[in-house]
Symmetry: C2
Subunit: 167 residues, 2 copies
DNA sequence: CGCCATTGTCTTGACGTCAAGATAAAATGA
DNA sequence: TCATTTTATCTTGACGTCAAGACAATGGCG
């Protein structure tokens, strides 16, 4: 018996159209990259939903989580936060403005460098992110239920190698 | 000899911090999902760069490419375009407005349904997207160079299965 | 026929992001 | 020392996106 081929999905249909219209192109990479992009959009939307239950989005959660997992005293500079979050400095300023208004972080002067700012998690921010991360991790487990243990390990390994080409 | 373990990457460091700070959480899924998200950001930025050489971004390219690969007469309704692009109707209207201003598409009434609109690629739009897709596909090949043939197939298969859980 | 739910598209207002540049402080080095 | 470069953060203006809802046309159904 021939092995079962998986059913045609949305991305397969796109590739089939290109093969019809532009036979000169080798569109094979478009399949992998298209699936990665679509999957990422679905996952991001699911993650936003889970965080919304705590009044957060993934932008604000990322900042709070970075401060939380840094350990006591839960303080980092905007520059430190930039180094881990893949956003521009203007975006980080905007995120910090909102978190400060919400009382989840505080800005303090750095006595050792007056250009620099110390961002500190408030008790309210700490409590919120600690609750949110619990929900978030549970949600992440749920999102991975479609894959078995071996598949997760294989996928993670391939993503690791691929990602290494860019950072 | 023990097998070589890959070097610690950015995501590994995040996981190590969580393991230190929140030992109650099983953060294993965060590794896979974090790598997927970071990888997608890197890839999206590279793709934007390649399309910018043609004056396009991935938003406008997606619309033009959908019309192009649909085949003659290179016409679809906004609703058809919505069905393949994972954006809201307001986003699509905005994209079409700009493409129309740029002379790359035209809007026409649908004689069979006066609610409906026919979006047609102009000759200028056809020529542009045909050139852009050539560059885009070359760029996609380049982006996948980090992976071998077998790895690409394995990754694509896992992404296909994962994506199937969401659509 | 005429009412009502549905469909297809567009409008509005808000949000998150970025690139480019402004500002101020600190480090460098002649 | 002092001018220059570098670093750290913030500001500005533009862009792409979304959710919610407006609007007109269509299709079903009594």
């Amino acid at each position: 018996m021939a092995p079962l081929s998986p059913p045609m999905d949305h991305v397969d249909r796109i590739l089939a159209q290109w093969k019809q219209e532009r036979q000169d192109l080798d569109v094979e990479p478009m399949g992998l990259l298209g699936r990665l992009a679509r999957l990422r959009t679905h996952l991001a939307r699911e993650i936003e939903k889970a965080l919304a239950a705590h009044g957060l989005n993934s932008a604000s959660f990322d900042v709070l989580a970075t401060l939380r997992r840094a350990g006591p005293p839960y303080q980092l500079s905007p520059g430190d936060l930039l180094a881990t979050t893949m956003v521009s400095s203007g975006t980080m300023t905007n995120r910090l403005d909102q978190l400060e208004k919400a009382g989840l972080i505080e800005r303090a002067h750095n006595p050792e460098d007056r250009r620099s700012v110390i961002i500190a998690l408030t008790p309210k921010g700490f409590a919120l992110v600690d609750a949110a991360v619990t929900t978030h991790v549970e949600n992440q487990h749920r999102l991975l239920e479609a894959l078995g243990t071996d598949e997760r390990a294989a996928l993670d390994g391939l993503l690791r190698k691929f990602l290494a080409a860019f950072e």
